[in-house]
């Protein structure tokens, strides 16, 4: 059972997550029947499963919550903020009980009582069925053989409840010696006969040790679809001292059965499957049915694979990581194969290399896809944060999320949680004003914090937007000067000024609050985002609000790149940002030599010569290529000696020693074992802008 216990705990945790979502949504839509049902259902499921694994503390507690929710479902109780708050607290409490080694501790009991007390206040009185009677089938008073007469008249439509009368008779026979009389008089002639109708009345005489209730229990499922009379004809004698005898022995001693009968009955205690076999239940048609079943199961499995409903298995993320690693190596080896095959004019080798290339691309995409997770789950986690924070701060805030389906590499998502928490806290604490202030400013009473995710080239952009007071440029700047973060004469762009709030030790809040404003944490944001190869951009309008945009790479492991050469060194430009590849003619080179501009689709675009950035300035090759790229800083031409071609790139980290290297995001190993560096175009173009404005 332990393996199920683990499954239960995992599932329960998932359910608790769902519950939280539902509750928070319910708070916004207290009348939503579906949500109420869903909340009830989750609680119900938790209780049901907990009961199976002896989480008695959880069962008892959830039972009470469930019965309150049942009242809500029945319309006897309405959804209030207090109810949701209490249910949320209950959710947390269940979570605590689940995580603790035991779900019954003095603390948890007292917390349960406390919460139940709160619920009682809310509802008047809660049915507390904690001292449930033991389940049926408990110790029965010892009894001896009695004779019963049973009259059983099934309803005519009894088959429509799936009832199997044969099974019923068998069960009865198992209780003891049973003689059966079938009254068939009501069976009509063949013409009027409906095989779906039950026409027979039955009478049984049963000699059994079973009690009246046990006999009646045989009919428990059909009670409502038959007439049933069970009469005790002869009550069993108590024979002192005989209680220890086994049923079979007594039966034999009374001459009711023969020893052979006993053996037969004992056989029936074997596993059901075996009994079925022994009873000759498995026949040719069973074999056919099994084959049919196999086919349908296979179909079912295929359908589950493509089905819309999520059918998931759990895989340790380390396993995925190692899969991605292997795929990365495979891609590298494949690149080598392609390179070698291109050197030989062997059609079959070339075909094979192409096949391997296609397969490994597919495999790579699939493997990467496995690690892609929608950001929505992360978003929805913040509902609680926003809610709790607004309560603490006395602000009224609506959290909006958009683009939750946007997928990011799991490793990126995992690292995104903390930065987002800090940013949201910051928006709520410093951004959104108090209701009073908002009204005075002519705004809606409720502030809005939006989380928006969207694709942008090879990146995902996540925005944290608020409609609060906006950032105060002057205050940030003067504070930064005060703290020595910025020189007195230094001129900063707006974005640079705003980014100061992410500096360690920086906080503009006039008073330090519990929520944020200690200046701890915001610097974590920029550190984490940068470690993910992402960047931060902040815009803000005074009085209107701020938007913090995080631009993140889709994945950390593999990118499609354009392999280029400068001198003897090779570099990779992320393909997603490449717009076009052109030849930079000598004339063009001369034409705008000073300004370093070229014409692209009707407008003048600046270019950057990597040779100048990375190597000597002077000796320009005869011909150069120009790669037109879309970057954060606009469209730029990147001038290289030669464009070699598309390249699938497994990104290798350059390690600690190159941690501060800004223009390169990593390296990759080429098919021939040499390496190429992957360019960070955003940084390169930003640097070029700075250098050109500085007149270098």
């Amino acid at each position: 059972m332990d393996q199920f216990k683990q499954v239960f705990i995992e599932e329960a945790e998932e359910l608790l997550g769902t519950l939280e979502d539902h509750l928070l949504n319910l708070e916004d839509a207290p009348e939503d029947r579906e949500l109420i049902d869903a909340v009830f259902r989750v609680m119900h499921t938790i209780k049901g499963s907990a009961a199976m694994f002896d989480f008695k503390g959880i069962v008892d507690f959830t039972h009470v919550v469930e019965s309150v929710l049942d009242q809500v479902r029945g319309g006897d109780l309405s959804v209030t903020r207090e109810l949701i708050e209490l249910t949320l607290q209950s959710r947390d409490h269940i979570h605590e009980m689940l995580s603790a080694p035991s779900d019954i501790t003095p603390e948890s009991e007292s917390r349960s009582r406390e919460l139940i007390g709160e619920f009682e206040k809310l509802t008047g009185r809660v049915e507390d069925k904690r001292n449930k009677p033991p389940a049926a089938g408990g110790e029965e008073e010892e009894s001896f053989f009695s004779l019963y007469r049973i009259l059983f008249i099934p309803d005519r439509d009894i088959f429509f409840s799936g009832t199997n009368l044969i099974a019923l008779l068998e069960e009865l026979q198992e209780l003891g010696e049973c003689s059966t009389i079938a009254y068939t008089s009501e069976i009509p002639s063949l013409s009027g006969y409906n095989p779906e109708t039950s026409y027979i009345r039955w009478e049984f005489f049963l000699t059994t040790k079973a009690s009246l209730n046990e006999v009646k229990d045989v009919f428990i499922f059909v009670e409502s679809s038959c007439q049933l009379e069970v009469t005790l004809l002869v009550e069993g004698d108590r024979e002192e001292g005989e209680g220890e005898k086994r049923l079979g022995e007594i039966l034999i001693s009374r001459g009711l059965i023969t020893p052979d009968d006993l053996t037969g009955a004992l056989k029936a205690q074997k596993p059901v499957g075996q009994i079925m076999m022994e009873n000759g239940l498995i026949s040719r048609s069973d074999v056919e049915s099994a084959l049919y079943q196999q086919k349908t199961e296979r179909k079912l499995r295929e359908k589950q694979g493509s089905g819309e409903r999520e059918n998931t298995i759990r895989v340790k993320s380390e396993k995925l990581d190692s899969l991605v690693d292997s795929v990365g190596e495979l891609v590298t080896a494949q690149a080598r194969l392609s390179q070698i095959s291109s050197q030989y004019d062997d059609p079959s080798l070339n075909a094979l290399a192409e096949l391997i290339e296609r397969l490994s691309t597919e495999l790579r995409d699939n493997a990467m896809g496995l690690r892609m997770v929608p950001i929505g789950t992360t978003f929805s986690r913040f509902k609680r944060l926003v809610r709790d924070l607004s309560n603490t701060l006395g602000k009224e805030i609506i959290l909006e999320t958009k683009g939750g389906e946007t997928e990011l590499d799991k490793s990126v998502i995992d690292k995104l949680n903390d930065p987002l928490v800090h940013l949201i806290r910051n928006s709520i604490d410093h951004g959104i004003e108090c209701p009073q202030a908002r009204l005075e400013a002519g705004k809606r009473r409720e502030g809005t914090v939006s989380l928006i995710a969207d694709y942008s080239g090879a990146n995902v952009v996540i925005q944290i937007r608020d409609d609060g007071a906006g950032l105060n440029k002057e205050r940030i700047l003067s504070k930064a000067r005060e703290k020595g973060l910025v020189g007195v004469d230094e001129v900063l762009t707006e974005n640079e000024i705003f980014k100061l709030i992410l500096q360690p030790g920086f906080s503009t809040a006039k008073e330090v609050t519990d929520v944020s404003g200690r200046g701890v944490g915001m610097d974590v944001v920029s550190k984490e985002i940068e470690s993910l190869g992402g960047s931060i951009f902040i815009t803000s309008t005074s009085g209107k609000g701020s938007t913090i945009s995080l631009s993140l790479p889709l994945t950390l492991a593999i990118i499609e790149g354009l392999l280029v050469r400068i001198g003897d060194e090779k570099f990779v430009i992320p393909l997603a940002s490449v717009q076009a590849c052109l030849e930079l003619s000598r004339e063009e080179r001369e034409l705008h030599r000073e300004k370093r501009l070229f014409e692209f689709r009707g407008s003048m675009v600046p270019y950057i010569r990597l040779r100048e950035l990375f190597l000597d300035r002077r000796d320009l090759p005869l011909r150069e290529h120009l790669v037109v790229t879309q970057t954060e800083n606009g469209i730029f031409g990147i001038v290289v000696d030669e464009v070699i071609g598309d390249y699938q790139t497994v990104i290798k980290n350059l390690g600690r020693l190159y941690k501060n290297l800004q223009l390169i995001t990593g390296a990759t190993i080429l098919g021939d074992g040499t390496m190429a560096l992957i360019l960070d175009l955003n940084k390169i173009t930003a640097l070029a802008k700075v250098e050109s404005s500085a007149g270098i």
């Binding site: 499954v7 409840s161 428990i220």
Partner: protein, 121 residues
């Protein structure tokens, strides 16, 4: 081998039922709610359906109605899983054509006993 379709939105319940049933010598099909179950029933003809009541998308009682209204499955026994002796649910279930019920929490003996009651030894 007899085939049983279990319908429950709780993976825990499905997994444990599946375990018990396989131990008992049954083949097991699964669905996580009524909609999925009906999908399974399009191609499969289980000897028994065991369904939970409270499930998303389609609850167990609606599933039951659908089963009873389908020509292929109208006689298929259906056992309803209930948490306690929820009399009202049992009664509604019966009136909709449930064959019987299994009360949660259950253990393997209880489950197999009820199934035997319905399917016969």
């Amino acid at each position: 081998m007899k085939q049983i379709l279990i319908v429950d939105d709780s993976r825990t319940v499905r997994d444990s039922l599946k375990f018990f049933l396989r131990e008992g010598g049954y083949e097991v099909l699964e669905g996580s709610d009524g909609v999925e179950a009906l999908d399974v029933l399009k191609t499969a003809r289980p000897n028994l359906i065991i369904t939970d009541v409270n499930m998303p998308n389609m609850d167990g009682l609606t599933l039951l109605e659908n089963v009873r209204n389908s020509p292929e499955h109208k006689f298929t026994p259906v056992l309803v899983l209930t948490t306690e002796s929820q009399q009202s649910i049992m009664e509604r279930g019966k009136s909709l054509g449930a064959t019987g019920w299994i009360v949660k929490p259950f253990d393997s003996q209880k489950v197999l006993a009820v199934i035997k009651k319905v399917l016969g030894g």
